[in-house]
Symmetry: C2
Subunit: 246 residues, 2 copies
């Protein structure tokens, strides 16, 4: 079974291993990594956030970017009437908030108790002007973000509720390096899942119950879910399950 303490996101962290290499880096805020690969506080300032605490707001000046050490972070867009869309979810190891422009284009909030490593944007911008590999990593990170966000657009535009929840679970499992069976800590409530998947909170509950009754998952407690049949989850996620008979 996967340990949550050592689990961390695929996305930009691995890319940034080179970027933030302490030995070669001239940047003072270099990230130190423990042998196990677990993200650990580096020379950047460690910040602690409580549940639902705002990290930065859409429109704020972008002077810092962050790496998740523990907890979860939601990147979201709000509308005046309270409707909310989570555009990305950050898990330990993920990096967010780096803008080449001047201000943040989304709001970032902590989900649960969250620890972040924060870095000033300027040094890395300067570094990227000196070093080719740093530039490549920044570009790769941006492209990776763009690609994953586009995949999520297909989910929001063209998937059924059941498919969305299955995709969410399968994708999260992969990010946590769970291949077959395994337990994972969602680290967030139904409200956040719903706003990420573009569904009502109650629909998320119902679909999770449905997947449980189908024997694909087990709901250990509100936050922790055991994946029992990853293949079936992925099958539903890809729409191979009873859609359009014939």
């Amino acid at each position: 079974m996967q340990s949550f303490e050592t689990a961390y996101g695929t996305s930009p962290a691995s890319l940034f291993q080179a970027l933030l290499r302490p030995d070669k880096s001239k940047m003072s805020a270099a990230v130190q990594r423990t042998p196990g690969g677990k993200p650990a506080p580096g020379a950047g300032a460690l910040l602690r956030f409580r549940n639902n605490q705002m990290i930065f707001n859409e429109g704020d000046e972008a002077n810092y970017f962050y790496m998740v050490v523990s907890g979860r972070v939601r990147l979201c867009k709000m509308r005046y009437d309270g409707r909310r869309q989570i555009v990305d979810l950050m898990i330990p190891g993920d990096i967010f908030g780096f803008e080449y422009g001047t201000e943040h284009t989304f709001t970032a909030e902590a989900i649960g108790k969250t620890v972040l490593d924060s870095y000033s944007c300027r040094p890395i911008e300067r570094l990227s002007e000196e070093r080719l590999d740093v530039r490549r990593d920044l570009m790769t990170m941006l492209h990776h973000n763009l690609s994953s966000v586009r995949n999520h657009m297909v989910l929001l535009g063209r998937e059924t509720a059941r498919e969305r929840v299955a995709t969410f679970l399968a994708t999260l499992a992969i990010r946590f390096r769970i291949t077959g069976r395994g337990v994972m800590d969602l680290g967030m409530g139904r409200r956040d899942i719903a706003d990420y998947l573009g569904l009502a909170l109650e629909t998320v509950c119902r679909e999770l119950s449905g997947l449980r009754h189908a024997g694909l998952i087990e709901i250990l407690d509100h936050r922790r879910i055991a994946v029992l049949d990853m293949a079936a989850l992925q099958s539903i996620s890809e729409g191979l399950q009873q859609r359009r008979p014939g």
Copy 2:
């Protein structure tokens, strides 16, 4: 009234004016621009596409990128069962297909008769290693794409059908530099609009009819729409119209 011949996309074209500056550029494939700002064929190879013709497929090796000279291009993702989500729409002046990675992460297809200017990726990658301003423009373009795609996620996840169609029209009008009243050529059919907005084709028809009956637009023919009340369109787009009484 806006002339379609001189209209071109806001997004990356203006950013790339500096990038592809012919005088300073060492790249042979420099874009020449007419005084009016209209995108014109440069030293890049001119390619002509017929309606629905594939430009490149998801997974294809990414050796070229393109600028739209005339026509429209859809960037889309397909699912096995035929469901389709258009992740971005390109209008004249827009640039697409530049990947810092190795392969394209989406499919590109021409909508209607379309002319593209094509450029090899390598020269610009080399150029970006020499010139700071080129790097900045590439980064800015990527960030712009990321930001606009995230805005579209809010539409797909949290907007009503009426709001989506109003947002579509208002956004397109702005891209065509229409401020108050004006006529614009959508350049695409209802099917494409539907797949861009995550709706059924019939729903797009109904909502367009609704906006017409409300006096906000006029449908001149299948492709051309006159915007009569831009403010009202934007008001609906932002959800300020009768949602949640009280």
